[in-house]
């Protein structure tokens, strides 16, 4: 696959890959054998960041290794192919989110159809980011694609279940947030007394269910 390699001074190499499937394919290729001095791999929707230890890494050598890995990598990968298959997680949701009607209006569905679409297809965690334990769930029903809210909320409660772009997510703790809120769950997605603390780790499959 062709990639665009951008530099973050001597602290990182940001690779523009295009789409999530391609990000995961490159991530899989680099994760098994990361270049010298790479301290972290940060996959995201369109990009893969390699964080560097400036004392050990040569960004030019890392960029070469990235291009070589991109040459070897397949063109697309699904989260399930990249990460060990984790047991599926069921997440009961009360679908009373503040943006449910807006999501319905945006998608041309009724609120009931939004709920049916959200619960009808399994999702898989593609990567984490934004805050600890915030998993970006991909692979859901494509008719649920909605933009982020025009105005971010300063406070989104813990357990809020939300949509943005091709992703769904569950806010692990109260935080600011700009995703469209469709419901809420009692399931704790981040618990430091649990090992690992994140419930929604990359590769975990998720089934949302309407809470009874």
């Amino acid at each position: 696959m062709s990639v665009r390699v951008l530099r973050c001074a001597d602290s990182g190499v940001l690779v523009e890959v295009g789409g999530l499937g391609r990000v995961l394919a490159l991530y899989a290729a680099l994760r098994a054998d990361p270049p010298d001095g790479v301290t972290d791999l940060v996959p995201a929707a369109r990009t893969l960041l390699l964080s560097l230890d400036p004392a050990r890494a040569d960004p030019d050598a890392v960029a070469r290794a990235v291009r070589a890995a991109a040459g070897r990598a397949g063109t697309e990968a699904a989260p399930g192919e990249v990460f060990a298959d984790a047991p599926p997680v069921r997440i009961p949701v009360a679908y009373d989110g503040a943006d449910l009607d807006d999501v319905a209006a945006h998608t041309g569905l009724t609120p009931r159809e939004v709920v049916a679409a959200h619960t009808g297809t399994p999702w898989t965690v593609a990567f984490c980011g934004f805050s600890p334990g915030f998993g970006y769930l991909a692979g859901g029903d494509p008719c649920l694609r909605v933009p982020r809210r025009a105005e971010s909320r300063t406070r989104v409660p813990a357990g809020a279940v939300a949509l943005a772009g091709e992703f769904s997510g569950v806010y692990p703790r109260e935080s600011p947030g700009g995703w469209q809120l469709v419901g809420r769950t009692e399931v704790a997605t981040w618990d430091l007394d649990r090992d690992p603390p994140a419930l929604l780790r990359p590769g975990v499959r998720v089934r949302f269910e309407e809470a009874g």
Binding site: R7, A9, S11, G12, V42, S51, F130, S131, R201
Partner: protein, 293 residues
């Protein structure tokens, strides 16, 4: 020493080591000391491994009592230091090995320059690690709570010999205008050509809206050439991220793993520690790093 008893924390103090890199898969950032060089130096002075946990202060103000005798060293911008023991108060120097007898009290004043101080104790601060580090990540809410009066910080067993050198000659934290070297990108193409010139033209002032996550700067606005939404992407320490205010935020130790605003330039790693010592009101200038592409 068995413990350090906190009598006062100053405006903000926390336990920091070299953080928890390698956990982005869980959405957890590296965190760790904001001025890593100062932490390493403090640990070397007391004969600890460089990454042992120590206390990071902000604007000084720390006041601690030694429970059991032992050695400490303060580096960075800890403020003027005094030791009180047996009714006598004596000044002690930063960047120096200091012996604290049992019951002695070490006080940090307010630094004249710089922002963050590091107090290492021989044996290291031995609070329980979380996800492999004793650092407080203020953004993620991971690690020990920030220090409060009454907290007792346990001290670990010393590992190596005390070093033969008990004083490190280091430059004092800078007052006046701080010049930081940058490399444009990764998203300089999201800005007008004039924006990069404005960034290096400066100067910028460090605002009081600054913490361990990032330093918000006021100065020339950086206009975008593209106004579409950037899909969130990974962020590095030292990144100059530009939110819709068009004023840059310099990301520090507790920055989130990913961010949704474009990064116009990144401060070179060698200057990231100096950036973490910039205090609100201080002036900062950015210069393109020579030789960088």
């Amino acid at each position: 020493m068995r413990a350090l008893e906190v009598l006062a924390s100053g405006p903000f103090a926390s336990v920091q080591d070299l953080g928890r890199p390698g956990r982005a898969e869980l959405g957890v950032g590296a965190s760790g000391a904001a001025d890593r060089g100062a932490l390493r130096l403090a640990n070397r002075l007391v004969g600890n491994p460089e990454g042992a946990a120590a206390v990071e202060t902000t604007f000084g103000g720390l006041d601690v009592r030694a429970v059991g005798g032992g050695y400490v060293a303060a580096t960075g911008a800890p403020g003027p230091l005094t030791v009180e023991h047996g009714g006598r108060v004596r000044p002690v120097a930063a960047n120096t090995l200091v012996r604290l007898p049992d019951g002695a009290r070490l006080r940090c004043g307010v630094p004249d320059a710089g922002l963050r101080g590091y107090l290492a104790v021989r044996g290291g601060v031995d609070v329980a690690p979380v996800l492999g580090s004793r650092s407080t990540d203020t953004m993620a809410g991971i690690g020990p709570d920030p220090l409060r009066p009454g907290v007792r910080l346990p001290v670990g067993a010393p590992s190596g010999e005390l070093p033969a050198v008990d004083y490190a000659p280091v430059a004092a934290p800078e007052s006046g205008t701080l010049t930081l070297r940058i490399v444009p990108g990764p998203r300089d193409d999201w800005f007008t050509d004039a924006a990069l010139a404005a960034l290096t033209g400066g100067p910028y002032d460090v605002t009081s809206d600054s913490d361990r996550i990032g330093m918000r700067l006021s100065g020339p606005r950086l206009h975008r050439a593209r106004t579409d939404e950037l899909p969130s992407e990974g962020m590095v320490r030292g990144a100059l991220q530009v939110p819709p205010s068009e004023l840059p935020t310099l990301l520090l130790a507790d920055h989130p793993v990913t961010g949704g605003y474009p990064v116009i330039a990144v401060v070179v790693a060698a200057d990231a520690d100096r950036a973490a010592q910039a205090r609100p009101g201080q002036r900062v200038r950015f210069r393109r790093s020579p030789g960088a592409r």
